[in-house]
Amino acid sequence: MSTAVDLREAFPLTPPSGRIPISAELPSGPDSRPWAMRGARVPDSTGAVAVPPSAYDAARQISIANDGGALTCMANTHTPTVPDGSATNPPPLDEGPKD
């Protein structure tokens, strides 16, 4: 007999809907919105640099910019940690994937 234990945490992966599901829903109200979310805000994008177009090279097993060179963000390692506020370019999470 199998248990009802959720197997996901023994082998955690990014959820099928993406690391951060995109939603058009607006905040609810103060009685139902988690208190900690009162401080939620769009990150400062002052230092953000657009990620250059790139593609994964399956032979080299790394991403390569469309011009064939190394990615700009590879030379400027700070960049990937600065969120630009784009819902399609979320910042990396220290906490790792969450199921």
């Binding site: 197997l7 996901r8 945490e9 023994a10 082998f11 955690p12 992966l13 990014t14 099928p16 690391r19 951060i20 995109i22 939603s23 058009a24 829903e25 607006l26 905040p27 103060p30 009685d31 139902s32 919105r33 988690p34 208190w35 900690a36 979310m37 009162r38 939620a40 805000r41 769009v42 990150p43 400062d44 002052t46 230092g47 994964y56 399956a58 080299r60 097993q61 790394i62 991403s63 990615l71 590879m74 400027n76 390692t77 700070h78 990937p80 940690t81 600065v82 969120p83 506020g85 784009s86 819902a87 979320p90 910042p91 990396p92 999470l93 220290d94 906490e95 790792g96 994937p97 969450k98």
Partner: protein, 320 residues
């Protein structure tokens, strides 16, 4: 010839590109895979019997590895399995469960000597309450902490402890109303304590505010530790440095032998070989444990300080 290294990471995880590049330049065989490649661009055939542990081939379009020969696994935020679009939702759910228990099970059971980090250990260590308990047991200094959904407990804790911060227990990022938002650590004001509606709807973490001079990002790779002092240049960054990267300055630093020994005990207790640890240094010079990130970012710290973290990760994966 070094034993092959198996890398599990999302294709667009650029810090992992650095690890792959470093290993490749050293001549170490690497198979990089994303679980999102399974089953359409990644195949597995694995066997076990009384005489041998799990063996067989894991193959991508361009690379393959013999599972029994894998010397180390680097596991960093791989993606969800991707199945043919023709599948129905029940079929996808069934297939995902089979893939997780099958491919994930075989990989988790590999008897290779080095994991950065084993996924089961990393998943357990993601829980902040687990981290705090382990840090306390390891002899590290931890701030008084409350986890609750009871507003009255928050007020009582504030009365007993003094200024408090609230920080997310799990992922701090949401996308709502089409906007990406982050929940940063928040220093509570007196006004905050007068309206605690919304506390009761889920678990919240409150912690005594540490009046700090600076923070330390301590990146632990195997037996090696790389300490970078993070100096906040704005009020917002002083509370949560992630809220204002542009104001930050970084300098290589060191931690005392006592702190290093405590961190070693913590890592052993959590079963981690890699961790990005956040520490706060108060005005008396005491070092407080805040959290450990089992898949924490390291690349920007190396870029800012020159600390050779990528090289250390490659060393660890090669067993040096």
């Amino acid at each position: 010839m070094n034993a092959p290294v198996l890398v599990l990471a999302a294709r667009d995880d650029w810090p992992t590109d650095r690890i792959v590049t470093e290993l490749t330049q050293r001549g170490t065989p690497v198979l990089r895979m994303d679980t999102a490649d399974f089953p359409q661009r990644l195949t597995v055939g694995a066997r076990i019997d009384q005489g041998h542990g799990w063996a067989g081939e894991l193959a991508t379009e361009h690379h393959a590895v013999e599972l029994s020969q894998v010397g180390a696994v680097y596991y960093r935020a791989p993606g969800a399995f991707q199945f043919p679009a023709e599948m129905s939702a029940p079929e996808r759910m069934f297939a995902a469960g089979q893939a997780r228990a099958g491919l994930g099970g075989v990989l988790s059971a590999l008897s290779c000597p080095r994991w950065l980090n084993h996924p089961t250990s990393a998943a357990r260590a993601e829980y902040k309450p687990v981290q705090l308990a382990a840090a306390r047991e390891a002899g590290l200094l931890i701030p008084p902490t409350l986890v609750t959904n009871r507003p009255e407990d928050v007020r009582q804790f504030a009365a007993e402890t003094g200024p408090l911060i609230c920080k997310p227990l799990a992922s701090p990022v949401v996308i709502e109303g089409g906007e990406l938002k982050t929940v940063y650590t928040r220093l509570l004001s007196d006004e905050d304590l007068t309206d605690l509606r919304g506390i009761s709807v889920t678990a919240h973490l409150f912690q005594a505010w540490i009046e700090k001079t600076h923070e330390i990002r301590l990146t632990v790779v195997g037996e090696r530790m790389f300490a970078a002092a993070i100096h906040a240049g704005s009020d917002a960054a002083h509370i949560d440095w992630r809220s204002d990267y542009g104001s930050l300055t970084y300098t290589p630093t060191e931690v005392s032998g006592d702190v290093a020994a405590g961190v070693r005990r913590l890592m052993d207790s959590l079963g981690l070989r890699y961790g990005a640890i956040d520490l706060a240094v108060d005005q008396q010079g005491r070092v407080w444990f805040l959290e450990v990130n089992p898949t924490g970012q390291f690349d920007w710290i190396q870029g800012a300080t020159g600390l050779p973290i990528v090289e250390a990760i490659a060393d660890e994966l090669e067993g040096k």
